[in-house]
Symmetry: C2
Subunit: 253 residues, 2 copies
DNA sequence: AGGTTGATATCGCCG
DNA sequence: CGGCGATGTCAACCT
């Protein structure tokens, strides 16, 4: 069965359905009144309340409250889930090995248990990223300034990795730090770090922050440091589909 | 009804159940074969596949594939969802105003529609954060070094906000940058930005990166810049509960 | 509304 | 595996 759902399941039904779902790589969704305990990189406790719990076949474990985009507690992919019967209560435990982290959910009342044998061979095709800004600049360097020649992309230097490294029409070395959204103080510090590193071995190094806009504070620091700003929007282009063929690879020539 | 679930709903049932759920501030969960289109800060397309869709009463909208902790597409809190009937197909549309972003889900087949009238008055009590490192240092300054005197927490300076500002036993100004996890190049750049800003108006400014560990590259840059590292783990303490009382505030004295 | 930074960030890439 | 940086980052806090 691809999908199964049981409202107000008994203990026995819960265990049976969860076992079936876990053994068949299904996505599990629970509506439950529960308590949550986490310990690992940090430590947390969440008192009783109604939440939505999702367990994915890759080990991802999400606990959502009724607001916010972020789960209140979670476990990342690769974690191992198990059902623990304790004091006549059902607990879910998810353990991650490295770093060692444990998540425990005490299910006080389960309103709904459901699972979904999901088939999905598609990947997201997204456009408007920072990487596409770099591509755009290599195709049309005059977007930065007349005479600009891009030379390297993602170039590792002494203390970090530069987005774009090139030369201007006077032969000066030029570092570009690209941001797909409004550039902030952090972006200026990053650019400064690259420029400082390059100035140790080159003279006449320019640093240009390339972004659709810049915060007031970042602009001030940028100018004090003698760095430059160039307005550029990330391009939204047609994107090739990234979907995977199911299992017909052996048919390829 | 607190919870309702319908497997293989008809068009009419879908619309009826969704309407009911949306009008009662329920959390909606769908299992569906669908396509997804997003346009806003970026633009994306996701071909047909099986996904779990969650719509929260605060407008949060999540689309999860069968792996990863992160939703493949989403809309943050405050977005407005609507049901669109088009070509005999049901589409879900979620619109955010600022920035303008739209998410559209074409429901090709819905395997399960369910909703949950969730009640939850608890908030997460978490310990082991960076803020608690600062508290710890104020309580026990010798953890940094003998004679250290912390003076300010979250102190705004010229270009940013310093975690902790204090003086050492010689009267030197000391900037602490705290990290609850392994410190990287970004952390060094951040500390350097603060130290540089303070050195414009003070002499003898020291910068100390305080973290449980540090990456090799960060250590190298830190030393070259004449900054220091102090190992300190974020403390895991007992935390007071942050749960809210339901509606008994008027009973308080 | 904009600025700044933390996060159990997660994720992807590359050495 | 560690290092490094992007993210439609999200979310909190402050001005």
């Amino acid at each position: 069965m691809k999908v199964e759902a049981k409202v107000d399941p008994s203990h026995e039904e819960m265990v049976e359905i969860l076992d079936k779902a876990l053994s068949t790589d299904a996505i599990i969704t629970l509506f439950a009144y529960c308590r949550v305990f986490y310990e690992g990189r940090a430590k947390s406790e969440l008192g009783p309340g109604d939440r939505v719990i999702i367990i994915k076949p890759d080990g991802s474990f999400l606990i959502h409250q009724k607001n916010k985009r972020e789960p209140v507690n979670w476990q990342p992919p690769g974690s191992a889930v198990s059902i623990v019967l304790e004091d006549g209560k059902i607990m879910l435990r998810s353990v991650r090995r490295k770093p060692k982290e444990t998540l425990e959910v005490e299910l006080i009342k389960t309103y709904l248990v459901s699972y979904f044998q999901a088939e999905d061979y598609e990947e997201l095709a997204l456009t408007g990223s920072e990487a596409e800004m770099a591509d755009l600049i290599f195709e049309n360097p005059s977007l930065i300034e007349e005479g600009f020649k891009p030379l390297f992309k993602e170039k590792p230097i002494k203390h970090g990795i530069v987005d774009v490294l090139g030369r201007d029409k006077h032969g000066n070395l030029v570092v570009l730090e690209l941001k797909r959204r409004r550039a902030d103080l952090h972006a200026v510090s990053q650019l400064k770090r690259y420029v400082d590193a390059l100035r140790e071995e080159h003279k006449n190094v320019r640093g240009i922050l390339v972004a659709p806009s810049i915060t007031a504070g970042a602009k001030k620091l940028l100018e004090k440091e003698g760095l430059e700003f160039k307005k550029l929007n990330p391009p939204k282009r047609e994107k090739k589909k990234k979907g995977k063929q199911k299992t017909l690879d052996f048919l390829s020539p």
